[in-house]
Symmetry: C3
Subunit: 327 residues, 3 copies
Amino acid sequence: MILNFNRSDFLIKKILKVKDIKKILKKNFINFKDLDNFEINDISSLYILRENSIIFIEYYDDYLKIENSKIIIITNNEKIFNSSEKNTFLVSDISDAYNCIVNNLFAHDDHQIYNDNFELINGSYISKQSNIHSSVSIGKNCIIGRGVQIKSDSIIKNNVVIKNSIIGSNVIICDNSTIGSTGFGFDFNKRGANYLNPQIGIVFIDNNCHIGSNCTIDRAKIDITYIGKNCMLDNLIHIAHNVEISDNACIAAQTGISGSVKIGKNVTIGGQSGFAGHINIGDNVVIAAKSGVTKNLIDNSVVAGFPAIDIKNWKRNIIRERKNGYK
Amino acid sequence: MILNFNRSDFLIKKILKVKDIKKILKKNFINFKDLDNFEINDISSLYILRENSIIFIEYYDDYLKIENSKIIIITNNEKIFNSSEKNTFLVSDISDAYNCIVNNLFAHDDHQIYNDNFELINGSYISKQSNIHSSVSIGKNCIIGRGVQIKSDSIIKNNVVIKNSIIGSNVIICDNSTIGSTGFGFDFNKRGANYLNPQIGIVFIDNNCHIGSNCTIDRAKIDITYIGKNCMLDNLIHIAHNVEISDNACIAAQTGISGSVKIGKNVTIGGQSGFAGHINIGDNVVIAAKSGVTKNLIDNSVVAGFPAIDIKNWKRNIIRERKNGYK
Amino acid sequence: MILNFNRSDFLIKKILKVKDIKKILKKNFINFKDLDNFEINDISSLYILRENSIIFIEYYDDYLKIENSKIIIITNNEKIFNSSEKNTFLVSDISDAYNCIVNNLFAHDDHQIYNDNFELINGSYISKQSNIHSSVSIGKNCIIGRGVQIKSDSIIKNNVVIKNSIIGSNVIICDNSTIGSTGFGFDFNKRGANYLNPQIGIVFIDNNCHIGSNCTIDRAKIDITYIGKNCMLDNLIHIAHNVEISDNACIAAQTGISGSVKIGKNVTIGGQSGFAGHINIGDNVVIAAKSGVTKNLIDNSVVAGFPAIDIKNWKRNIIRERKNGYK
């Protein structure tokens, strides 16, 4: 997936220069080698490098190649710091550095509810900074936030909140769902709303998806939470930040997909299933209801149980247990 | 349960005649023997036969008796087609035929958001085509759609969406719940909002029910999703399309009941339980929390676990496992 | 936790005297010994005794010490009745007595939607009887009910319902959540909205909490459902009535916590976990995803599975099962 978006569509950017970074990171700051007046425009991840941006790197990766020389790296890893030829800050607490810089660079809706320039149109609040195709139907009591794009022939039902999102063509989003709200991102050792890692990414729901009622799909931390073409989501489903679901997924009710999980094409997932974070699920995988998937799954896997295993073995184990025990 | 409803209360009907069906099914059409100008009024299921309607039959059933000669049968099953004396169409893809005909016969809210003739009354959007008893209390930011009936002394709290539903007397529906939205119905081999099987049934919540917050109860595909008298539903519960729950059920939070499950009287269901689709649960059944019920349960069963078994045996198996293993 | 609140901020109180109680309990009434015109002001629990109140006691407790002589005790337990020197009623059905008295003493929102004196301010309905600090940000389509307090710098996003609640400083509540609605309280033998045990307590969310989207946190029956400082709740979480969660909890998505569970400090809970009611969880406990916690857990426990056991043993059992069986 090589999707991109213009972050300034969604967030109100403040002006920040390298000399401001120096002030913000006062405690943490150790070294830097760049022009004080160089203007910081954005935050990058390793997946989407943006010009004049900052990237936060915690762990060393041999394959790390950051080619844009104007990217400033902030790290708590001395190895990266020493070996780098880039403009680099070494900090002691990278989570804190991220929070400070992002909160200074952007206004976001866990910091303050900024003025979205809403207009009340036909019973819903639509931001003047949104971009909604004239063929889109929107029900009552919806919120369509700053920067949101909704393409042709999509239907947004009632009481739906859509922020920080791009919605494709012919998408249906049912009542009381929340798209593009804050992901569950924070430092486990510093809990509380004060210490939230600001989430500044978006949700991209591709063409022809159907999203059920009372679902939550969280915006990515920096990049994109992605729902592929033709995906079918039932009700009360949770999709965490940075999840990527490929085309044609069918996901039954009350399933929860943890942060950064990647799911292949044509996957079918039974109700009330859950996924550990950061795992990869292959194409054509079938996951039975109530599964707890804890590991990567190769293409065409069919699994059940918790921890999820091949469904044939899961069934055999149940038969064996009942033979030995009580049924 | 012999409940019925007038579909045209809820949906805007278009005019469709047999000759139109011929055009719609052009590709699929094989044979028919009826007057071209015969007017199609509705869709039937095997449970509720309606006059001048179409019924879609996929599987053969020896007991099949369709007595109203004005019902047109559409099937992809040659056996039914050949043996029938009724007005019958044989199609190659029954899911596609259903979608085409229903989308031509009715406007529904996964196709376009039609004008419900809403009035903003005391902070909620109430359709002029709804029928709400004067003793009903409705909170703020609710949507009460076309055709909805709400009987005496019921309380609808805030931000509740009710569409395609009949609500009895003395019912309470708590905040942020969605009643009567689209069920999860589609052909597994054709995914995407474009291929949704239109859901044109309703939800019937009988007298004296209490529905918690942030629940979803989906309308039936053709007939009625039914919640019996005196049922108590906790929060974040999902009731899929065509579920039928008899009187006096008590269902704890985050339980999900899959499509077409039938539940007897006086049933108690613990939180986070799930049910396979199309199963039957007897009267007075007790289901422990976190159960996954995969099979029919006879009256007075008490079960736990996944797959759910008799709770005594479930407990014995746990004791045995711990004796043999680690506890 | 020694928190208290003034119930009359939240509920509209009617005037009730002992002689009225006599009439209300006509059927149940057996004995009493107090002034007919003594005015009843409130309902007490054993945890918060209130002046001129009624307390309902079902089970005998040796440590029971009710020192305020003006509290009237209603019980169905003859032992308490006989041994008591307090003003005591003996009733045959304590659930029914509770319902009758509370429904006569207070107007509550499962009985009728009373006039909350809402003002539509910037797209949300805010009760004139609420108390919201000027620094609080509130999104669109929210409901802030009678008596609700929200302290400085908190952010309430969109389509949020807050009733019967005190919200601390610097709290964030995300979209489509329901705070302070009715708990799941009723007599299992008398089901239906008519027989609901009225819930007249509140929710207290302490400073610096983050509550995700589409969560439900139910008001206590009589006292306080409490969420401690710095707690982080993900999306689609259910917190039942009378739950008390101490500071710094981190709770992942789709977890459900049953009524009256008490949770210690610094607890971490994986997604889709569930808890039996009325259990106590110690400090620093870690609960893996999809756990079903059925018993008290001591400080520093790390558990997994259902029923949840020490995570090391849970893993060993899985390895053993796979060694013996199929993996």
